[in-house]
């Protein structure tokens, strides 16, 4: 690694902490980001000569703060009427120069920065894009390519999202325990959105979207470092790692989706699985189960099975049953039905999902699973109808291609309905 490479890594690593602290000083996202940019420029010219500082984040915060104060001073001299409020804020910031940077303050700063991105008015993509831009510092071009939109469209989307966030007035005081825990769960949900946006990508998009999974994991690790005793955050990180560990096995050479049971398990990333299992172990000691821990436990059972046939389906059925109680949703029941199919047979599985038809009529996986159950029961005509509907609802070419192989598996029996 060259000098510039490791400096860049250090800057990226320190970014969430530094931007979060600068946001507290300047109380304005753009000013905080500009101050951080300035600090990075100085780091690039200074560190190769003088060596890296002992605490990169603290250095960037100090330098960024000074740069931000300077910039605001210059601006206020140029403006006819200085903004009173802004000036008094800056005096506060200057007064804080001597303040020691301690861990507990960082913690609420980072949480606030992440929480800002979870604004409920923001659409899902807005939340994800904002987090990737502000917290991770990914370039607009890279985010745009992940969402398959043009750079200027993404730029606009991020600017709009920032505008909404600026009006939201997230308080800058340290939050109380209840508020903190609410923020934490909103942030966890947002990070899982970022992860899923990357994970659900089709084969042709994996290159553009894989960084989303890596970013989500990196930010969740950061969150767990500042909230080390939260079992659900351990569960979330475990869940992401265990799912991401299968990445190399999820598509075949032609880009077709490979189902879990057909994946080459030797291609799964063992170190990632190891870390996921270790985190889940830690989480379970707390005896405070939650949705992320349960989903991670399901993923762990897959990870522990050396072959698909060794999968402990009854246990997965059991885990999904607890998830249904905790977080009832038709999608959870559908997932459970797959485990029931493996553990008890297609009849039970079909009975479990029949009541979901109304809720999941527009859901690809519902029709795919229903088709598979019906096929297993020998009800070919109905299976064919379900598969046809699934194809119509497929979100990616790989999904549609997979269902077509299922259709082919039905053989020449029955009549083709619509195609």
């Amino acid at each position: 690694m060259s000098d510039l490479d490791w400096i860049e890594q250090a800057l990226t690593g320190a970014r969430p902490v530094a931007v979060a602290a600068l946001l507290r000083y300047f109380r304005d996202l753009d000013t905080a980001e500009e101050a951080f940019q300035e600090a990075c420029l100085r780091a690039l010219s200074n560190w190769p000569k003088n060596g890296p500082p002992r605490d990169t984040a603290a250095w960037l915060i100090m330098v960024g703060r000074n740069a931000g104060v300077d910039a605001a001073r210059k601006r206020s001299r140029l403006e006819a009427l200085p903004d009173e409020e802004k000036l008094s804020d800056l005096e506060d910031a200057e007064g804080a120069l001597a303040e020691r940077l301690d861990g507990s303050q960082y913690r609420d700063d980072i949480l606030r920065l992440l929480f800002i991105c979870c604004h409920p008015d923001l659409p899902r993509t807005g939340q994800i894009a904002l987090a990737l831009r502000i917290v991770s510092g990914l370039s607009v071009a890279r985010i745009a390519s992940a969402f398959l939109v043009g750079e200027s469209a993404m730029e606009q989307r991020i600017t709009r999202a920032k505008g909404r966030v600026a009006k939201a007035d997230v308080p800058f005081e340290a939050p109380g325990p209840a508020e903190r825990s609410e923020r934490l769960s909103a942030v966890a949900a947002m990070l899982y959105l970022v992860f899923n946006e990357g994970y659900s990508a089709g084969f042709d998009q994996t290159e553009a979207r894989a960084p989303l999974c890596d970013e989500a994991i990196r930010l969740t690790r950061l969150l767990l470092r500042i909230f080390p005793t939260e079992p659900e955050i351990m569960g979330l990180l475990a869940l992401m790692l265990l799912q991401h560990s299968r990445t190399a096995a999820r598509f075949d050479a032609e880009g077709a989706l490979v189902l879990l049971e057909d994946q080459d398990r030797t291609a799964w990333d063992r170190p990632m699985i190891g870390e996921g299992l270790a985190l889940l172990d830690k989480a379970m000691r707390h005896n405070r189960p939650g949705p992320y821990q349960i989903q991670a436990a399901v993923a762990a059972l897959h990870a522990r099975a050396r072959t698909a046939t060794e999968t402990d389906w009854p246990q997965i059925d059991h885990l999904y049953a607890s998830l249904e109680l905790m977080q009832p949703s038709p999608v959870v029941t559908l997932n459970r039905a797959v485990a029931v199919f493996k553990a008890r047979g297609a009849g039970d599985a079909l009975a479990l999902i029949e009541p979901l038809e109304k809720d999941l009529a527009g859901y690809f996986y519902f029709h795919g699973a229903r088709g598979a159950f019906l096929k297993d029961l020998g009800r070919r005509e109905e299976a064919r109808e379900s598969f046809d509907r699934a194809i119509a609802l497929a979100g990616t070419a790989a999904e549609a291609a997979y269902i077509r192989t299922q259709l082919d598996g039905l053989g020449g029996y029955g009549k083709r309905a619509a195609s």
């Binding site: 250090a10 002992r54 005793t229 870390e275 000691r285």
Partner: protein, 127 residues
Amino acid sequence: MLYAILCYHDENAVCGWSREQDEAVMGRLMGIQDRLAREGKLGPVARLMPTTAATTLRKDRDPPLVVDGPFAETKEQLLGFYLVEVAGLEEALAIARELGEANPGGAHEVRPVGYAHMGDPAKAITS
């Protein structure tokens, strides 16, 4: 003389390495390890998982308390270690320097080992 080389690095930076960067660093380190092993100087080597996977047993109270996370909150974290059998400090530092060039940033603490057990009952080492 047995030395421990304790590897400290900023975890935020190391966890942000791309797979390619990580593999490149590990590849360089393994080259050095292979050579040290051939020279009969290499003891156990470990790369530790991130501190988020750590659990600490506080035994300064009774009963001991199990807490999540690493023992110390530091700017750089203990992310791995080497044991090397060398002639003395200079040689240990030379190895640390070489490992540092392959994996820049952070610090290597070079510490003489007072007692070690390599797992083989016949091979406890006391310096």
